[in-house]
């Protein structure tokens, strides 16, 4: 029997180009699992990606895949979906891709509420170009363009997406891969725009500069740092410090467009 995972992988492209221990592979695995669980017709799934380490994920999927330009993946995807609404469209972006250069397309996709599922691989850094700050780099982190630590405030991505009107917003880490799989699946099932923030560890471009340690240490940090949203909300204020919520942030609402 052919392995499910392998069916979804473009074998010509493996092994992938990501660094040893890069969390992107775990997100990719979660995505494949979610696609499989939904039992979608593979011919009707299109994956659109931007430019960056994360964006390379499209190339590893044995589906119709579009590796577009930096920051523009959601705009390309809007064209794909509107021209052929029968397609399930999943959009893969890095944090810089989605929220720096691509921030406008992100908020407009959320506003239009077209049925796209966006997965933001948030490694807190520009991986592909070697470690510059992104709009999701936590303040005071070291980056090559912030050698003394970033002074720019980061976005809170779920808040941003909700502010723009997103009806489905989720967050998970690679450590919590089951949650991630579920959120991706629910995001795809959600009839309008869905955003999943996938917290992933980049040992090379983020970890090294910020002395975050090995890939395993990155996973452990995720384990310890993120708390399921309902549990998080029930924590006493002082215990919230140093923790961040994950899970599904927002009940699905709002009609899909056009309608």
């Amino acid at each position: 029997m052919q392995e499910v995972l392998e069916e979804y992988l473009r074998q010509d492209m493996m092994p992938h180009m990501w660094c040893a221990g890069c969390g992107n592979g775990i997100v990719l695995h979660s995505l494949i699992r979610a696609l499989h669980d939904l039992a979608l017709e593979k011919e009707k799934v299109v994956v659109v990606a931007g430019i960056g380490c994360a964006g390379r994920a499209a190339g590893y999927l044995n589906l119709d895949t579009l590796h577009s330009t930096h920051g523009r993946a959601l705009a390309f995807a809007t064209g794909v979906k509107l021209a052929n609404p029968d397609l399930t469209v999943v959009v893969l972006m890095g944090d810089g891709d989605a929220t720096a250069i691509g921030g406008n397309h992100l908020i407009h996709a959320a506003r239009r509420d077209i049925d796209l599922t966006a997965i933001v691989f948030n490694n807190s850094i520009y991986g592909m170009t070697g470690g510059q700050q992104s709009p999701l780099t936590p303040q005071k982190s070291i980056a090559t363009t912030a050698p003394g630590g970033t002074t720019q405030r980061p976005f809170d991505l779920p808040q941003l997406a909700r502010g723009a009107g997103a009806g489905f917003v989720g967050r998970s880490t690679t450590f919590h891969h089951q949650l991630m799989t579920r959120l991706i699946g629910d995001g795809i099932t959600h009839p309008g725009f869905a955003l999943v923030e996938a917290i992933t560890y980049c040992p090379t471009a983020f970890g090294r500069q910020n002395k975050m340690g090995s890939p395993v240490e990155g996973l452990r940090w995720q384990r310890d740092h993120f708390v399921e949203i309902n549990k998080f909300l029930s924590l006493p204020e002082e215990d919230k410090k140093g923790k961040e919520p994950m899970g599904q942030f927002h009940p699905a609402k709002g009609p899909a467009w056009p309608h």
Binding site: M17, W18, C19, T204
Partner: protein, 180 residues
């Protein structure tokens, strides 16, 4: 006639080849040479083969790449296989015998030294092999001031590792001296 020396340092991603190239170039510059240093990362975005080229001349250097190397350092098998043919007939090839098990036949002078093993054994870390190599090369070319090489090295390596790197360098110099 222009006196031009083409040096090619090669190895794999993590071996510090480019740093060695920079230090060599800087040392040569401070020794009064015209210098150009270039590098290439091979086709793979991460890891894979790495090459640093250094050209010294007593006149301004025009073409900045190595066309026929006077000296090749090969710190792993792949780079040895790939670059050996590019060495001049009267050139010198230094292979790191720790990583290069098989050297194809070559008309050039071949110097095989356990650079990585020396680094590991004497300094506890393989990562200092590049500076051992640097000591060997500086010594063998005879055109670059050892002092300037040491200085260049000290300004370019991370402060925490200066001592080990310095030691590695002089170990290399000794290795080379033993050859002569």
């Amino acid at each position: 006639m222009e006196k031009r020396q083409e040096i090619c340092l090669s190895g794999s991603g993590g071996q510090g080849i480019i740093l060695a190239g920079q230090v060599l170039a800087e040392a040569a510059l401070k020794s009064g040479w015209y210098v150009v240093q270039t590098q290439s990362y091979g086709p793979e975005a991460r890891g894979g083969a790495t090459k640093a080229e250094v050209i010294l001349s007593d006149a301004p250097v025009d073409y900045p790449m190595v066309t026929a190397a006077d000296l090749l350092l090969a710190m792993n098998q792949e780079s040895c296989d790939r670059y050996l043919a590019g060495v001049k007939n009267n050139g010198t090839v230094i292979v790191d015998s720790t990583n290069v098990s098989h050297t194809p036949p070559t008309p050039t002078r071949l110097v095989s030294l356990p650079l990585t093993a020396v680094a590991r054994e004497e300094l506890g870390k393989e990562m200092f092999a590049n500076m051992v190599a640097l000591g060997v090369i500086t010594s063998l070319t005879g055109e670059i001031s050892l002092r300037e090489a040491e200085n260049a090295l000290l300004t370019r390596v991370p402060p925490a590792t200066t001592e080990a790197n310095r030691k590695a360098f002089w170990l290399g110099v000794q290795l080379a001296n033993r050859l002569v």
